[in-house]
Symmetry: C2
Subunit: 375 residues, 2 copies
Amino acid sequence: MIEYELLKKEKFTKARLGKIKTNYGVVDTPMFMPVGTKATVKSLTPEELYEANSGMILANTYHLWLRPGEDIVEKAGGLHQFMNYKGPILTDSGGFQVFSLAKNKEKDITEEGVHFKSHIDGKSLFLTPEKSIEIQNKLDSDIAMSFDECPPASASYEYLKNSVNRTLRWAARGKKVHQNKKQALFGIVQGGAYEDLRRYSAEETVKMNFDGYSIGGVANDGESKEDMYKAIEYSTPYLPEDKVRYLMGVGEPIDIIEGVIRGVDIFDCVLPTRIARHGQAFTRYGKINFHNAKFKEDFSSVDETCDCYTCKNYSKAYIRHLITTDEMLGGRLLSIHNIRFLIKLTEELREAIKEDRILEYKGEFLEKYLEEKYE
Amino acid sequence: MIEYELLKKEKFTKARLGKIKTNYGVVDTPMFMPVGTKATVKSLTPEELYEANSGMILANTYHLWLRPGEDIVEKAGGLHQFMNYKGPILTDSGGFQVFSLAKNKEKDITEEGVHFKSHIDGKSLFLTPEKSIEIQNKLDSDIAMSFDECPPASASYEYLKNSVNRTLRWAARGKKVHQNKKQALFGIVQGGAYEDLRRYSAEETVKMNFDGYSIGGVANDGESKEDMYKAIEYSTPYLPEDKVRYLMGVGEPIDIIEGVIRGVDIFDCVLPTRIARHGQAFTRYGKINFHNAKFKEDFSSVDETCDCYTCKNYSKAYIRHLITTDEMLGGRLLSIHNIRFLIKLTEELREAIKEDRILEYKGEFLEKYLEEKYE
């Protein structure tokens, strides 16, 4: 189980400082979780994550259900043992992947669950709220998510209203079969960018008394930043102060800052590792792209203010060489840097909350970040 | 510069125990060098190589000449600085790649050098003995190789005879322009599997007084093991005892043992990292392939006698999962293991030489290795 402790509320915003006690150590919030999709944060070892000061990481139930299968992970002694990660692990419900990855995006959503085809081999699959929880129980993560419907950003008010109700029924069904007593279970707030739906979804989910709450449906294709911020603003006021809040799938530095200001505690995103593999890095002065020829003879580090392994040991010129020649070490070094960048951002946000200066911090950060010194 | 010290000759074979003093520390021989083709041992950091107890590593002149170019490496402060490797580095001459990688293998070998087309973009290139040394001088490796012709395994006696003479003339030309006083320069013995040609090549190369000697032309496509062992046997008797001997491109465990028994000190090969990326690992009981379904629920380590990071922390089942789902960490973990396996093999060979029991060691090793417990 987990225990959330709210340590401080910032004076001028809804930002919160807290900590979560887990079976695998205490982690501080606000926190960014690197994503270990298939029980591996792409290209990195656990030791590299510890060195980046990672707290909790996320693994994807959908992917692990398909390969290697939850029974093998269970036989290995659970996810921590299987992947050798000694910090806390959160698993999602599989819902988001079912809705976004399913082959040809063909799916049949029924009250019972979702029929869809595997993105790997087209095999027919059926995921239900009960099955999602059963898989997560076997994976033995520290925090499990309720199975929710993730409607597209374009969904109508009517569609969303029905969907929110279905997600509530699914949450109740999942909670009923949740067996793993060491594992916390979170409910998920949906409702698009509609104030009344978010409020309704939050209030009804909270009534079920979960161990924590997620805000979902904000990282869909086509979702505007404005709608994302609205979705958060419309949800957090109705979530209890003594439970942790997790904004799913968000990892742009600016969005993390805006989320924290609106009362979010946890974030996750594939962004830092994905852009790394494409040769991009976060820096204090915005994102940079190593395919850019200007880095050919630039022997300075990726970000001179960064304390990560990559920045301590390698030049932009070397990383550009690795990226442009498709050498795996390039994506790996940039993954280390990008993950550390987001984790360090949350460390700085925690300091800013302590000092009641989060709006100043945001101003200082954005002034540099939007300068686009490099592009 | 380097200094080779012969510490002991084994009693019953030609095996030698020695050490090489370099600008970047002392390394023990017999030694296996991991290959860092484009200034990166694929997917690994220098720290991972140190942990595997690597001594010297190899980098490829041809690849670095093309990308990023020797001038950028020079501006970075040389290869050590560029790639952050604090141990000694050997560069090859580029000859082998010109002969094996050039686009469509079209090339025009003249007395002056070799005209060929880049394997990357088809651009016309011209590599000469002088140019090879000039590039290596700028790369600032600890040991440079003379530019040699690498004839195919199918070459006739007549062809090889002419080729050996050309390689001798090229060696003399390269030596003449060698400028980097911190860098050692090796000569290369060629001559296929012909005793008289190997002897002639060795004796004439030794007359030029290089800092060490390589045995080349043994890792070509189509070369038989028998011919490889002959090539070594016909070369080492004519090489001076007080200089180090390097067998180029050899890395099968059995070939390393046979090479050591015939008086070789240094080996290099892409094999451990290449087979790792294809999901294969060396073990005491032969090579294993992680695509094999039998490892699906095998929670033991890759090789229970191994002390590497991978074997200390991960199961076969997890590595199989990574390999079959194309996760980069799989190739990385197996690269760590495979490199450590070959380095540990050379450590054991050094112990066996100390105890004058290298033939017993070979027998014990092969008995297990050829058992094919897994396949």
